[in-house]
């Protein structure tokens, strides 16, 4: 079985429709004989879900790939995770959860705009850059009158 396929079963503990491959967190996988080394990129450094993700990766590999004896999962900081690492599929999965994906383009002033994940309207306002988790912001759709969340854009700009 392919390691990447197995890792698709590991979801973000706080957004359980999206997996760590589509979030762009998996940077490097190396299989050698019966050992495996996986390097992950943390989204936000203070994210309390990181430790849970690390443990879930280990247990998923252990249960799906029986031939692997030695599992090493680590977080690395280079390259930095940026929100443009989220895949197309990841964008779809985020919307399913009611979270707007990060804007595809960031301008150099740092301004950004997202459409409502429910009705697609562009008539939205930012309520709070900081949301219920480190990677999310709180917005409001003035068209369908729903509050919603968006993945906070992060880039090296």
């Amino acid at each position: 079985m392919n390691v990447y396929e197995v890792l698709r079963n590991v979801k973000d503990p706080e957004i359980d429709t999206v997996n760590i491959i589509d979030l762009g967190m998996v940077e490097h996988v190396e299989v050698k004989d019966r050992s495996i080394s996986i390097s992950l990129l943390p989204t936000f450094m203070g994210c309390p879900a990181l430790e849970i993700i690390q443990k879930n990766v280990e247990s998923e590999i252990r249960s799906s790939l029986g031939e692997i004896e030695d599992i090493h999962v680590q977080f690395i900081y280079h390259p930095p995770w940026t929100s443009d690492r989220i895949s197309e599929q990841g964008h779809v999965q985020l919307r399913e959860f009611g979270i707007a994906p990060p804007p595809e383009k960031m301008v150099s002033t740092g301004e950004w705009h997202v459409n409502c994940p429910y009705c697609g309207s562009t008539y939205t306002t930012l309520d709070n850059i900081f949301g219920p988790t480190a990677c999310r912001s709180i917005l409001y759709c003035k068209a369908c009158k729903n509050p919603f969340e968006a993945m906070k854009p992060v880039s090296t700009l």
């Binding site: 450094m45 906070k152 090296t156």
Partner: protein, 271 residues
């Protein structure tokens, strides 16, 4: 870039680097704690969410710096965060100061003006340090600085909005903000101080010199005040002592007692 093993084989390089990492880790550890004490007490619910998110990010940054120390053989990150006495700490005095009179659980008469001024001034200094550290000769630190900087962008924007808006309103808001800003300036030099090995840090390309850092901070601060027509002179001092060399106040002792309560009861507890 030179190999890190070569750099670390130079004792004066390693000593200076370790000292700086303690400053960065201890600063973020304390400022995140003081920030977290506002939980449930911030002026409105959106601020409660924002401030606790910022404090959580900041505690994450402290963890990264303690982990760099762990990699350099200083001991376990958790022990470095919780097991060291006040005299061993290298954080600036500004970040250890209480949020105001009273206690978190009993009559917390915290001062929001002081919180805004402290967190804005501190975040601006941290932003300048991270900008320099992205080019640090010590590559693992440079990588973390890139990551911290991305998150810090939002923190700085947040505090700058509070700071400029409150300070620009004549009357009580401006008076209270300027009084708080004065208190922050009285200790701000301690934040910009780079400790005993400042010279070695600059010579080895680990971080810019203390003079350059202070000048950059003062220039940014003066420009901000000028742009918002806020009448004030900026003069920074370290009135209560130099935290970088272990000088601290009772505020740090009591903060550490609270923060490390679980650790002191059982240093091996998983939580």
């Amino acid at each position: 870039m030179t190999d890190t093993t070569d750099l670390l084989s130079n004792p004066s390089y390693k000593k200076a680097l370790i000292d700086l990492l303690y400053q960065l880790a201890d600063d973020d550890f304390m400022v995140a704690y003081r920030g977290s004490e506002w939980l449930g007490l911030a002026p409105h619910i959106e601020e409660d969410v924002a401030f606790s998110s910022i404090s959580q990010d900041t505690m994450g940054h402290a963890t990264m710096f303690y982990e760099l120390l762990e990699q350099l053989g200083e001991g376990k990150a958790n022990d470095l965060a919780h097991g060291r006495t006040a005299a061993e700490r290298k954080n600036a005095i500004l970040v250890e100061e209480v949020n105001g009179p009273g206690h978190y659980l009993k009559e917390p008469h915290y001062d929001w003006a002081f919180a805004v001024a402290r967190h804005y001034c501190y975040t601006l200094a941290k932003k300048l340090k991270m900008a320099s550290l992205q080019q640090s000769s010590y590559e693992p630190l440079a990588h973390i600085a890139v990551k911290v900087n991305m998150e810090l962008h939002y923190h700085l924007m947040h505090w700058q909005t509070w700071f400029t808006q409150l300070t620009s309103i004549p009357g009580e808001p401006q008076e209270r903000m300027l009084a708080a800003f004065q208190l922050v300036c009285d200790e701000m030099q301690g934040v910009l101080h780079l400790g005993t090995y400042g010279k070695e840090l600059a010579e080895n390309g680990i971080i810019i010199s203390e003079d350059e850092l202070s000048e950059a901070w003062l220039a940014d601060m003066k420009l901000l005040l000028q742009n918002h027509r806020i009448p004030n002179k900026v003069a920074i001092k370290m009135k209560s002592g130099n935290g970088r060399i272990g000088e601290h106040t009772e505020d740090l002792v009591s903060a550490l007692n609270t923060l490390s309560e679980v650790y002191q009861q059982d240093p091996t507890a998983a939580w």
